[in-house]
Point group: none
Chain length 207, copies 2
Amino acid sequence: MNQSEGKSKVYIEIVKQLRVMIETDGLKAGDKIPSERELSERLDAGRSSVREALRALELLGLIETRRGEGTFIRDFRENQLVQLLSTFILQDKRAKRDVVETKYLIEMDCLRQAAAKSGDDKLAQLKQWTSASEFSDDDFFLKIADMADNHLLFRIWKILKDYYNSLGINPPAVNKAYYEKLTDDLLAGDIDRTLLSYWQLRDLSKE
Amino acid sequence: MNQSEGKSKVYIEIVKQLRVMIETDGLKAGDKIPSERELSERLDAGRSSVREALRALELLGLIETRRGEGTFIRDFRENQLVQLLSTFILQDKRAKRDVVETKYLIEMDCLRQAAAKSGDDKLAQLKQWTSASEFSDDDFFLKIADMADNHLLFRIWKILKDYYNSLGINPPAVNKAYYEKLTDDLLAGDIDRTLLSYWQLRDLSKE
DNA sequence: AGATACACGTGGTCTGACCACTTTCTTTGA
DNA sequence: TCAAAGAAAGTGGTCAGACCACGTGTATCT
């Protein structure tokens, strides 16, 4: 494979062809792609060029290569985009001011989604867990974010949570009553009351 | 450089050290980093390993290498990465669903924030612009996101917009009446009606 | 049947060769 | 002396090859 005609570097072409292969062969998370040596033959490129392409995709979190085993597709939803973007966005000084507000907005979105999508059995489990367990605020909203059934929203929340925690804001002591009331409102299917309970929870948590 | 003690692959270590170098040396867009051969010496690694790290960073859009010249820092632009990733993500229906849903949730958050924070003069300007201009859906919500006065939320929306746009969903023809109604509801300070209008706008947009 | 050893396949890293291009330096000619 | 041309050096681009570390599968031994 040479480059005299086209402008693209070999590794870029390989990335493109891997993408097509994934699509054509219907490869899903956990599936194995051909070995480096086989790809080298198939794509008429040097093994080093194949590796360059694979390393690039690996850094993006789209694949995972394990010595002795091979190279596997990862769940594309776990890609590193959100992580990478947060690196740049959160370096922006202005962003820090907005972290708290945005975290709260996302949490409320998660509550709305959880209310809309979760069955009563899931909410009953949450209620039981809330009563029976010692938990942190983060533990609680991790469950809510999970119940929102939107992986992207879940990851955004996680990034915001981690960053919020890195700001050194003291974690509030958990007053269980607020979380239990919130859960009750969720169970009752009353989203407005749920959001009101959230505000009350946060007003308290802030002091 | 060998790997017998640590778990990280060499290229990952090189990526990390490049990151430190960029930061320590205060390198900015356009600045040149040391040659592959020099990095190879400095970091005590093979040139191939250096190249693997560089290719990975290049695919992320963080650097640009030009034959005969060298490797240069680039301004990070999210849309390049989003576009690349979306070609993979497109293959995952759940990921597509998450993107669409999250964009809508963020837009509603922007509406809520715009309603809470914007003065009547700003909203009046929006009303006037909506009447007087030809605009796209993205144009409209760019303004809304701006009026939310939360830079982080704004950036999140922009990235989601790029993501959404690379899904290949046909941009709907703008039916101005819906945007004008939405603006009226904002002006009236009725957030529930505003959100209802948003839902109506999106329901139509989906056909 | 279970444990062990061996062979093979896969990835991991490095070296080296050579090419294409760019930049810098040196030589030549006006 | 200055400008242009050519050569040398530097940079990235690609490939081949060597050899090691690990994982998996098969064969053999207890």
